[in-house]
């Protein structure tokens, strides 16, 4: 006997993501999902971004970290409101789910925010698969990871709306072709904006900040 089903296996997460999206619309806050492999510089990029955006843009951060509070401690120093999700308490450690993010966003409180940034778990595979109700997805790739990563993890670069090529201050010491790295990202995702930056020297920040501020303004009418 055959039983027809025809359902999305991840429907539960998609339903939760829709709920989150509604919540974020009500609160009139723009949500950015930041993803990368561990160590690409998400936290460092965020620290610099927050410092430059605030107080003109009011930013909150949800940070997913596997079991430490190191990232949250670094981010709190910028003056932003930060909450941390330790995924090991919930049995999963490769991505943040929509329901975890919504719970944290409610705990953090979004009434007085223009922008909520979610630093996802360091992983180029799983977070790409899970919608968290965000408005845009950013992927960070550092020049130390090699030019071929976009071709090896195409889904991540496909679902991203914007990419940051980070740590360009290290280029003089590496045998890395930055144009090839950018070219590979755009092979996977033609027309995706790619910002070449250094969270250390703060080179290349203006275009990225302009992009982000415009996105926040387009959704919320705030922050410009």
């Amino acid at each position: 006997m055959e039983i027809k089903i025809q359902k999305k296996v991840l429907q539960v997460n998609e339903t939760e993501a829709e709920k989150s999206r509604k919540f974020f619309r009500q609160k009139n806050v723009f949500v950015l999902n930041m993803m990368s492999s561990p160590g690409s510089g998400k936290t460092e990029t965020l620290c610099k971004t927050l410092t430059k955006l605030m107080p003109g843009v009011r930013v909150g951060v949800i940070v997913g970290d596997i079991c430490t509070t190191n990232d949250a401690d670094r981010l709190v120093k910028t003056g932003a409101r930060v909450t941390q999700i330790n995924t090991d308490q919930f049995g999963g450690d490769c991505h943040l789910s929509a329901s975890l993010v919504l719970d944290s966003a409610e705990k953090l409180g979004c009434d007085d925010l223009d922008l909520l940034i979610v630093e996802n778990i360091g992983n180029l595979v799983c977070p790409a698969e899970f919608d968290i109700g965000e408005d845009s997805r950013a992927v960070v790739l550092s020049v130390t990871e090699g030019e071929d990563k976009p071709l090896k993890y195409p889904l991540m670069f496909r679902v991203a709306d914007v990419a940051i090529l980070n740590k360009i201050d290290l280029l003089p010491y590496l045998d890395v072709d930055r144009d090839l790295a950018v070219g590979n990202m755009q092979k996977v995702h033609p027309r995706m904006p790619v910002f070449e930056m250094s969270a250390k020297t703060e080179e290349g920040y203006e275009p990225w900040l302009d992009w982000l501020k415009l996105k926040v303004f387009e959704k919320t009418g705030k922050g410009l």
Partner: protein, 117 residues
């Protein structure tokens, strides 16, 4: 890496779909559709499924996976084609705006139950 979570959802949906009036149901096959770009590793999903389905009517079930090609469409020149590697650039126009049509599915299609003895 998240195949355990996927297997959990899969088993839950499948169990919910089995009519309650069937005595000792045993599922032989679970038909799935998985896009080639979905981040699901088949043998890892099978492994997780075996663990999660233990002591349920799905315990002996085999996963039959129909893999879905990655199809894309260029909004700039209206061409559609199948992508076989990680390159999504439009071969017909310079710098087309390319969207995915298929290849990300993770779907459960149907179950086959063993006939009652």
């Amino acid at each position: 890496m998240h195949e355990m979570g996927i297997a959990e959802q899969l088993v839950k949906i499948a169990l919910d779909a089995i009519p309650k009036d069937i005595k000792n149901p045993r599922v032989e096959t679970v038909h799935l559709k998985i896009g080639k770009l979905a981040s699901v590793v088949e043998h890892s999903l099978t492994f997780c499924f075996e663990i999660i389905s233990k002591d349920t009517p799905l315990e002996k079930a085999r996963l039959e996976i129909d893999s879905v090609p990655v199809k894309v469409h260029c909004k700039s020149c209206d061409h559609s084609w199948e992508v076989t590697g990680p390159v999504f650039q439009c071969p017909f126009c310079e710098d087309g705006d390319v969207e995915m049509i298929s290849g990300r599915e993770i779907e459960i299609i149907s179950l086959e139950l063993e006939d009652a003895p």
